[in-house]
């Protein structure tokens, strides 16, 4: 653990020295490795800064970051170039693409480098690695990771007489608090008690925290999933909650756009909502009121299990030069240094994969200013490792997620929760079956 750390540190600190030395000795050309990413906005700025740091930290490798659109778009392109020389060295892919990437045959599991070099993987956050570890192999290097948390409006809590320091934890509590928090003005609801983004991820999390699975065969981790099980009782509880609150008029629907629900929260249209840990700091900073951060709620009929990691990881491709792979690997390692991670965490709000980063001064400063940020890390670290919280693997995950969203929207329109879920599961099963047929 220590040596790697040191070497990384050494590289950065002796930067100038090393450079002059090596250019004198080895007038070799730098190895260039292309890095496809899907980060836009602030994320892109940060990623480019880190890449610059890496490129300046040594003079053997140059990483070229290239934006390739959304995860889906990047993946679409990768499907065409994967397995060829045109493939990038590293590609960033969202968590639900994990199974696809593993099966694609275009990638080199990072485990091979870890084994080769004896890289100390333990320094990284276990709960994050769990997701990307399949059959005891770490396939990709976790990169931008996030989990859901519940954000709430402390001012509104005070106003409604709910204890702002003791936010609701269970579904029942949520329901109750939401009743108090909802403000109506005749027909118009001025403030809703609770909201969830119409995004499948949150449903998955709410199922997992109850210990429920998404697909069979141990969430697809024992062997390829053949059936969706998100319509089990855990899933039904979540949908029931949404349905009941919606009918009671305490649930605010703000669609599937991240910014919309955040704006709703910040303008006081909703008092509690689920957000990604990556969005916490910006919301806390921008909101004109005191923002509280809490763990995501769970059903009182189950135990709290914790959260699944979300976000994306970096994959190394296998159709490129060894040298390039090496470059990619070096970059991945560089990324996991506490300095890089600290910067990444602060810039973007994503987790630091290397918990050592949290000890960095800059992080501590920030946390002092926004104690809320720590809650997200606590929630992750308190998570009980299990197949449920490890997350599901399925080659048709994007589709399944879409089905869940549709089901959720249908529930909001008054469909029976069970019926909606069953239909989504049925559709998902069909797709799974087809995919299995095609990929035999």
């Amino acid at each position: 653990k220590e040596p790697t750390d040191k070497s990384a540190e050494g590289q950065t600190s002796d930067n100038a020295n090393a450079e002059t030395d090596e250019t004198a000795e080895v007038p070799e050309e730098k190895v260039e490795a292309v890095f496809w990413h899907a980060m836009s906005g602030g994320g892109q700025e940060s990623i480019e800064a880190i890449v610059d740091n890496f490129n300046n930290s040594q003079d053997k490798y140059t990483i070229i970051p290239e934006f390739q659109g959304s995860y889906e778009e990047a993946l679409t392109k990768f499907r065409s170039v994967g397995g060829t020389e045109d493939a990038p060295a590293i590609i960033q892919t969202f968590e639900v693409g994990t199974k696809y990437m593993i099966d694609s045959g275009f990638i080199e599991p990072v485990q091979s480098f870890i084994d080769e070099e004896n890289y100390d993987i333990k320094q990284l956050e276990e709960n994050i690695l769990n997701y990307y570890t399949v059959d005891d192999q770490l396939y990709s290097m976790p990169f931008n990771s996030s989990t859901p948390v519940m954000l709430y409006n402390k001012d509104a809590f005070k106003e409604a007489g709910v204890d702002p320091e003791n936010p609701p934890q269970t579904f029942a509590e949520i329901k109750e608090a939401a009743e108090d928090l909802t403000v109506k003005d005749g027909e118009n609801t001025e403030r809703y008690g609770f909201s969830i983004l119409n995004y499948g991820w949150f449903i998955e999390e709410l199922i997992a925290t109850q210990g429920g699975l998404f697909v069979n065969n141990d969430n697809g981790r024992a062997e390829s999933a053949t059936e969706a099980v998100f319509n089990g009782q855990e899933g039904q509880r979540v949908f029931q909650l949404i349905d009941e609150m919606n009918q009671a008029g305490t649930y605010g629907n703000f669609g599937s756009n991240w910014d919309d629900i955040r704006a709703a929260f910040q303008t006081g249209k909703t008092a509690m909502y689920l957000d990604s840990s990556a969005g916490v700091s910006a919301t806390v900073e921008n909101a004109p009121f005191d923002v509280g951060v809490a763990y995501i709620p769970y059903s009182e009929e189950a135990e709290r299990n914790g959260v699944i990691i979300g976000g994306a990881s970096l994959w190394m491709t296998n159709s490129i030069d060894k040298e390039k792979q090496k470059a990619a690997w070096e970059f991945m390692k560089f990324l996991q240094t506490p300095e890089s991670q600290a910067k990444w965490h602060l810039d973007t709000g994503y987790f630091a994969i290397n918990p050592a980063a949290y000890e960095e001064e800059i992080v501590q400063e920030k946390w002092a200013e926004f104690p809320q940020l720590k809650v997200t890390v606590d929630q992750l670290q308190e998570t009980k490792p299990s197949v449920a919280t490890q997350g599901a693997l399925s080659s048709v995950f994007p589709e399944a997620r879409q089905q869940v969203v549709t089901a959720m929207e249908n529930v909001l329109q008054g469909t029976d929760p069970k019926e909606a879920l069953d239909k989504a599961a049925e559709e998902t099963n069909r797709v799974i079956e087809q995919a299995n047929r095609a990929n035999q």
Binding site: E72, N188, G255, D260, V431, A438, Q440
Partner: protein, 308 residues
């Protein structure tokens, strides 16, 4: 004179075929660039799509399992695809007539010789210069449930705010409004061009006859504009069937698949779910739909069109 009759019989067919050959030869040069490019970038992919629609594809997107008509059977019985078809038809129905009528109205307004009319023309044509991505983003803001100007206005006058993009009953309407707005610029410009090409003498003559504005509109403007109108309607129809960008940004096909237009559905099948087989089948289905509509357009619509 008998002689000449004989000559005629002998030479005419030969001359005619020669003439045809000449026409073909010259036509081919004009058409060649288009034909090459079309074949390469449209017909070939279409054929490939057609081929893929009979297969299931593996992870690399290669045709793997031949399933015959299964993909077609599936999409035809799948509820969500039925929804797509209905949504698409509704969308076409909402956008095309309204869009054309509004554009026509604006074109008629700006066809008058008034001071500063060029300014107004530029304004009306301006939406043409705004990309789908940009305008969808702006409209996303306008429809925003809490900060959006629309709801602000409605609540300001005491109405109940509307879930523009979140209520399945409204979402398609909202997407249609956006689409109409985006298309106005182009239709307007084309219609204005058509209006300006109508010979002024016709109006002069009608004015002398005492025809009022609406009478002139009905008896002269519309018939004389019919080729342009026909063109605009055809193009709007085809565009409406192929709408994608605004759906992607505004609603992603939701809520409850109410805005899941066929093209968006294809996009999702192909690029998110990697089901090229069904995506291809849907593409072919869409192609046939547009084809039929266009054929109907040409056979029934063009009859009413007057060409100079």
């Amino acid at each position: 004179m008998k002689q000449s009759a004989e000559i005629q019989v002998a030479t005419v067919p030969q001359a005619v075929t020669k003439k045809r050959l000449v026409y073909w030869r010259s036509a081919i040069w004009y058409l060649l660039p288009s034909i090459i490019l079309f074949s390469l970038f449209l017909f070939y992919p279409l054929a490939k799509t057609f081929y893929l629609s009979f297969f299931l594809t593996d992870r690399q997107g290669l045709a793997n399992v031949f399933v015959g008509l299964e993909n077609y059977q599936y999409i035809l019985q799948a509820e969500s695809f039925h929804k797509s078809i209905i949504a698409t038809l509704l969308f076409v129905f909402y956008t095309v007539p309204t869009g054309v009528l509004i554009s026509l109205f604006l074109a008629l307004l700006t066809n008058e010789k008034l001071k500063g009319i060029g300014f107004f023309r530029t304004i009306f044509a301006s939406t043409m210069g705004i990309s789908v991505a940009a305008s969808a983003v702006v409209w996303l803001f306008i429809f925003h449930p809490s900060m959006g100007i629309l709801n602000q206005l409605i609540t300001a006058v005491g109405g109940q705010s509307v879930e523009w993009l979140l209520n399945p009953d409204w979402a398609l309407v909202s997407v249609s409004v956006t689409t109409i707005w985006m298309n106005i610029g182009f239709s307007f410009l084309i219609l204005l061009g058509g209006l300006q090409n109508i010979d002024n003498h016709l109006y002069e003559s009608a004015r002398i006859a005492g025809a009022g504005y609406f009478y002139q509109l009905r008896r002269i403007t519309i018939p004389m504009l019919s080729p342009t109108l026909f063109f605009v309607v055809t193009v709007s129809l085809i565009n409406a069937f192929q709408t994608f960008g605004q759906v992607d940004i505004l609603t992603q096909g939701g809520p409850s698949e109410s805005t899941n237009l066929i093209v968006y559905s294809i996009y999702r099948e192909a690029f998110v779910n990697y089901q090229f087989g069904t995506a291809s089948a849907q593409s072919i289905f869409l192609f046939l739909c547009i084809l039929i509509v266009t054929i109907l357009q040409f056979t029934f619509g063009e009859r009413k069109v007057h060409y100079q």
